[in-house]
């Protein structure tokens, strides 16, 4: 139980986010109206995704330094959860854009950048799926992982801020200052980010543990056949 405190924290933070996100007061702004609450649920997807990809790249670099297959298992698991969170980010963004910008896909620099970044990560999974040799798969995908991460940073964080973007928080603006005028929203937003990062990590650890169990079973089977 002692080792699982962060899982309980993650569940508690997400329940708090949901209650606070739907019930607490938000700035009364035209056009966005109540959809401002999407910030509590949509933006944490991206924060958590970036965190998952950082973890994935970290283990990819560890693998390149020392080819231990466990590092590869960690790397792929974090990337998988990151991709799922990114897809949820795109979908939630499109729902919001449909009602505030007028169409789900507006070709906004941030939207396009995020989509390209996700495609770059899709290629990571395609690359893995196309190689059968386990060591080769781990080594090549680890190298590609570092490249994918390096491509994602400018696509999501830099390019959208250099051009004019309708996306809140862009336009050379480092945060969501226009939205968080009264700081009240931060009270829900930051716990949401921490909650989703912990939840993502929890799911990633489950994927890792299942994979490690599988590897151990295969080892045992190899011993029996010998």
């Amino acid at each position: 139980m002692k080792k699982n405190w962060w899982k309980i924290l993650s569940a508690a933070l997400l329940v708090y986010t949901l209650l606070g996100g739907l019930l607490f007061a938000v700035p009364r702004l035209n056009i966005v109206n109540e959809t401002i609450r999407a910030l509590y649920f949509h933006v944490p997807m991206w924060f958590a995704m970036v965190f998952m990809f950082i973890a994935s790249t970290y283990y990819a670099i560890l693998y390149l330094r020392k080819p231990v297959i466990t590092y590869d298992t960690y790397s792929i698991s974090f990337a998988t959860v990151g991709l799922v969170l990114g897809l949820l980010g795109i979908v939630t963004g499109m729902i919001w854009a449909n009602y505030t910008w007028g169409s789900p896909w507006h070709g906004d620099p941030k939207q396009n950048g995020a989509a390209i970044a996700l495609l770059v990560y899709f290629a990571y999974f395609i690359l893995r799926g196309s190689i059968t040799n386990q060591e080769q798969k781990a080594r090549l995908s680890a190298a590609y992982n570092v490249f994918a991460f390096a491509a994602m940073i400018p696509l999501i964080f830099i390019i959208p801020r250099m051009t004019s973007s309708m996306h809140p928080g862009s336009d050379g603006n480092p945060g969501f200052n226009t939205y968080d005028l009264d700081n009240k929203m931060r009270l829900v937003f930051y716990p949401a980010v921490v909650g989703w990062i912990l939840m993502g990590t929890w799911i990633a650890t489950l994927l890792i543990r299942i994979e490690l169990v599988k590897e151990k079973i295969e080892e045992l089977e190899d011993e029996q056949t010998r």
Binding site: L22, N33, E34, V213
Partner: protein, 73 residues
């Protein structure tokens, strides 16, 4: 002051802030006034708790598999 009291105070203060804000942009005030927003909150909360519960059960199942493997060695 214990944690629970702090949390309740936090909730209360936020609700206070809500009632005090200016009424310029159109918001879902009616839904809050007649309390129907709590129906939505209850539904989404039920789904979130269900998903978290499912995650816990998967976690426990993996734990059991790990234990079986450890015992085998």
């Amino acid at each position: 002051m214990n944690k629970l009291a702090k949390l309740i105070t936090l909730f209360g203060l936020n609700l206070l802030c809500f009632s005090a804000t200016a009424q310029d942009a159109e918001m879902a005030d009616a839904m809050r006034a007649n309390g129907k927003i709590y129906v939505v909150v209850a539904i989404v909360l039920a789904i979130l708790l269900g998903v978290i519960g499912y995650l816990v059960s998967i976690d426990l199942k993996v734990g059991k598999l790990e234990k079986r493997l450890r015992d085998k060695k």
